[in-house]
Symmetry: C2
Subunit: 667 residues, 2 copies
């Protein structure tokens, strides 16, 4: 930034050289994008990006996202050159085990990486979530003269991101939300893996984004650093609309043999071609060699420290003038819950126990939210256009909109994937705990964003209602069968399926508490009996599986979840009438139960006792608990359109059937 | 169509009346859309749609798709009124168990329903698949004077479909593919479930679709039947571009109290409001009462029979002039395989056995395709921009494009969901067996379309390569863990994970053969040893699980799939060296194995013998086979970026570990 004697082109070539060298050393990687976007990166990173390499978590920093994450070496090169704690040895360890430079950018692994990318289209959606969080937090916390929340969000993306449907969902919302501080750079190189995109990607992208209400600049020459610089200035001269800068580039720019072709996308160039490229670029240095003038020109440490020092001074003034706001902001950004949080949840549980209401579990969820959210100001709810069905709007909450930035419930429209990826961006920015809902069946639409939340270990909370054939008349397209099981397969995701108001309150309590990972909360459309007459069991519920009602010397165990716990209870009663003692275990969260020690698990499910599991969905995951000595009531085929009362017997989920199955197990 | 004395408005009101009555009787359903789109429906169905109610499968028919499937009563009313085998009693059984009028349209249940809809955005994608199939089959089979394939595809869709990302993916392709015989009607009523869409859906849809290269008409008055009629004429006057007709409508048109609000979307109106609506509409008849003049005006049977008779006459001429083409077309449309198909597969298997090549299973897949596809002209491959990685392009195939309609491999671009939903449309049209590929991790992006293929019982074949940590350096975003298990949970989907060239050939053979359901084929990036030295086992492989190599008096069984079968083989050998006899079972398709009789399953996995399962992914589904007496080698956490050779030991997938686990089981 300081040394003006180095040509910007040389800086771009430094990125290219590092990318080529690292990929070659790793014998694996994607040179096409870093070579193509190097000039854009130089314009942004040396002339605009406000960041402090010494403090990658500085609250005032601009956010930078590589939505085309396969170009990771571009970002690693930038982080290294500008002074982050990412050494040349780290670059030499590109794509090696336990290195800080994995194949695709991973948040939490590399300082300066804001989100994990690679699955295309989600990075831009994450960025939109970050820009939304920035806008909402700014409205909540900033005060005249104290813009404590004030940053831009920059996103690099490519043809792949723009082809993916999630880009449509998220970018459409960014337009409606008027995210004027979001700037996206489209690497318009006309090439994807299958070749020239003409045969499969004919969008007029300018027109498309204008249709979303974006400010579109370009096409400009993406290899003209000045043109990019000028476009960024233009983007930043307005504040109403998100900006897309369309940058015409040559993929693999600099590789004489491969540039402009798909051959340069995803494989090392080879020593010979690297030599040729370096020669063509006028880059005279050895592998992994960066001259001091380049380092000096990139070095953002001094300016970064000054930026942060200035910010800190401003923040100190803010803290003096608004001490409560400042401390609240700090708490929110740190992701810490309020001091009275445990009490809040305990009160919600107690209220549920006292009210003893028999309601649909989605209603139970709403009651829990109404008890907790008013005391947890970081909650930010939402629904993919099913608010009145999902019941994620709690008592007193208002709808978010550009005319109501204080609204804490977002109508995301019919965009399950976009919603989920945006929630991930909100969670990554911090200051909010996002939750968003749709029907359980349509968790399918958002599957990879749920996975990404688990991989990134972030606190996104996915709410799914209408969780079984209990949906009734809407039929098999709307009746989940395999979805609950499918969610349980995602490593690190806690999947809760509460049986009543008490379990719903505990589940929400646990989900909000789980700082380093996502949860999915699964609720019913139909009403179920209240089951916790026996008194407070909150601590047991938190274990994920527990004895709800025991019997003396039980001969078998019924394990059930959600709305089927009441069915299990009825079966238990019926068997008791016949003199057969059976234990009833409620298992709202198998992940939590599995995490308990062996002694506890054995105390709930003693070896030798046969087990009947009951869940109105796939039985495939229940063999883990029947262990060769049990049976499962469930549904392993698609549902049907009919009143729910007709469906339960159709699929065998009846007291009679349960009683018969337990007796079978005892014979 | 014939009786011009009935006003078209009255026809539209008949639809409205039937929709209100049926929904009221069912106490469940969605009146908003049928009331809003009734006029559009009258314009299309009485003035343009070419169909024959007496023969819903007539090859020459236009295709009609309700992408906003919650408005199912609109379609049922139309089918009833125009003379399909759908009685008034059927309408009275709307949403009841085993009725022909389920909550959302289901193909195979109701005559005249072309695809199952409800999950938004997929109907339009199915329609695009149908229009593509029509275009490609027309190019292949039509001859001068004999347009044996020649129909239009009409799609109704709403705001929800347009918000969904899959609409972006599919409609972008429709533009590139110049599907000029596709006409979509956008029910632009400005209302979605959460209310007025302004707060979450601000797209300029005209501009958006122009950006895709569509012909956009409107906004027009969607309640002016003449205006809609005229727009359809305009759409059909050009053949280069798909058409979107934007129809401004009032949701729930006719309901005095609720029209124009989200209240009318998804609940019965109530007797009182229905009476008020009928009065306002001037509809003087009782519930489920349709006057004869309305029936007469809608009745499409005579014209339909004439259309089909004319078509048949033309087809007979075609059959006389081109007997081979005609019989081939009939075969293709019937979905029957060529007479020599079994032989073709047998030859492919034999060739694989002879060649005995140790290759990546994705390469094994390509070899199978190269052996089978040239003899199976209905195969239509494709990839979501990963052709050179997925290897779905077989020897001799050319790339599909508007300049090469004979190409049989489609580059779908980076659009996994769109590709899959389009494939479903192609399969529904018939004449092709579509298969399409991406990386296994990104099956997540397409999840609901895979489910829909299973629900519809259609022959879409989903190909997933890069199936484990064997991917290596690309890291956890690209390494599937839970995906194979997650696919296995979908009812009716056969999931194949072959271990070598022989199993790959059999798997492809079975997938092409499975007329009434989809398959997923899962292949590796990395090479594996050839394992079928022992000779032909094709018949056993078809059983889904079989003894690959046995031992005398085995003490335990190793069950493995895909690339881990060779690991199991190495473990078996090592144990044999130590005098421990172990059986090796290859289980390429658990669904097929589960479908075998108990005796066969017991012969492969005898009760009492401990089982070690090996698969480089989630272990959660393997408890079914270990039955309380076994263990699983697998991965229940996310992967890591590193050369694959480092990852196998990191996750414990080694010979040493397998040997130790088997020994543990025997102690």
């Amino acid at each position: 930034m300081s040394n003006s004697s180095v040509s910007p082109q040389k800086l771009a070539n430094a990125i290219r050289a590092l990318a080529m060298d690292s990929i070659q050393k790793a014998k694996s990687g994607h040179p096409g994008m870093p070579l193509g976007m190097a000039d854009i990166a130089v314009a942004l990173w040396t002339r605009h990006l406000r960041h402090n390499p010494k403090d990658p978590k500085w609250l005032g920093r601009d956010r930078f996202i590589l939505s085309n994450g396969h170009g990771s070496m571009l970002q690693y090169a930038l982080l290294h050159l500008t002074g982050y704690d990412l050494s040349m040895d780290d670059l030499k360890s590109f794509r090696q085990l336990h290195s800080r430079t994995p194949g695709h950018p991973e948040v939490g692994v590399t300082p300066g990486v804001e989100t994990s990318t690679g699955p295309l289209g989600q990075g831009i959606a994450n960025g939109i979530g970050m820009a939304l969080a920035e806008k909402m937090l700014a409205a909540e916390f900033n005060r005249p003269g104290f813009p404590v929340i004030n940053n831009r969000t920059y996103v690099f993306l490519g043809d792949g991101c723009l082809m993916e449907g999630v880009s449509h969902e998220a970018c459409s919302l960014a337009g409606v939300w008027q995210l004027g501080k979001l700037v996206a750079f489209y690497d318009d190189n006309g090439i994807s893996i299958d070749g020239n995109v003409k045969g499969w990607f004919g969008d007029d992208t300018r027109k498309r984004f204008e249709a979303y209400g974006w400010n579109v600049i370009g096409p400009i020459d993406g290899h003209s650093i000045d043109a990019v610089d000028q476009a960024i200035n233009e983007a930043e001269s307005q504040s109403e609309k998100p900006t897309l800068i369309i940058c015409k580039t040559t993929i693999g720019k600099g590789s004489p043999k491969f540039q402009g072709t798909s051959k340069v996308h995803g494989a090392p160039l080879g020593d010979e071609e690297i030599a040729a490229a370096k020669k063509a670029l006028g880059w005279e240095y050895g592998p992994f060699e960066i001259p001091q003038d380049v380092y000096d020109a990139f070095d953002a440490r001094a300016t970064g420290e000054k930026l942060e020092a200035d910010y800190q001074k401003m923040f100190d003034g803010y803290a003096a003038a608004y001490p409560e706001l400042a401390s609240e902001l700090k708490r929110r950004i740190a992701g810490d819950l309020p001091a009275n949080y445990a009490e809040t949840v305990a009160q919600a549980v107690e209220a549920a126990e006292k009210a003893a209401e028999s309601v649909a579990t989605r209603k139970a969820s709403q009651k829990a939210l109404s008890a907790i959210c008013p005391k947890l100001p970081e909650t930010l709810g939402g629904s993919a256009d099913l608010t009145s069905s999902n019941l994620t709007n709690w008592e007193g909450v208002t709808a978010f909109g550009t005319d109501n930035l204080a609204g804490r419930h977002i109508s995301y429209g019919v965009r399950e994937f976009g919603m989920s990826a945006i929630m991930n961006g909100i969670a990554l920015y911090g200051g909010f705990i996002p939750f968003g809902a749709t029907f359980l069946t349509f968790s399918d639409y958002a599957k990879n964003a749920i996975r990404m939340a688990a991989l990134m270990q972030i606190r996104s909370i996915f709410v799914y209602t209408h969780d079984s054939i209990g949906v009734g008349e809407d039929g098999p397209t709307h009746q989940p069968i395999e979805q609950t099981a499918s969610l349980r397969l995602i490593p690190g995701l806690d999947v809760w399926r509460p049986c009543d108001t008490v379990e719903a309150a505990v589940a929400w309590g646990c989900a909000f508490e789980k700082k380093n990972g996502p949860s999915a909360l699964i609720f019913s459309r139909q009403s179920v009996p209240f089951l916790h007459q026996a008194g407070a069991k909150a601590d047991l519920i938190r274990k994920g599986g527990y004895i709800l009602t025991d019997a003396e010397s039980p001969k078998a165990v019924i394990v059930a979840t959600g709305t089927e716990v009441s069915l299990g209870s009825a079966i238990q009663e019926k068997l008791a009438e016949e003199g057969i003692a059976v234990r009833l275990v409620s298992m709202p969260c198998t992940e939590r139960f599995d995490a308990q020690d062996a002694a506890y698990r054995e105390s709930v499910l003693p070896a030798g006792l046969p087990v009947l599991t009951i869940e109105a969905g796939s039985t495939e995951l229940w063999y883990k608990y029947t262990r060769g000595n049990g049976a499962s009531l469930g549904i392993d085929q698609f549902g049907a359109s009919a009143p729910a009362s007709k469906l339960w017997p159709l699929f065998g989920l009846t007291v009679e059937n349960g009683v018969a199955r337990v007796k079978d197990l005892l014979h």
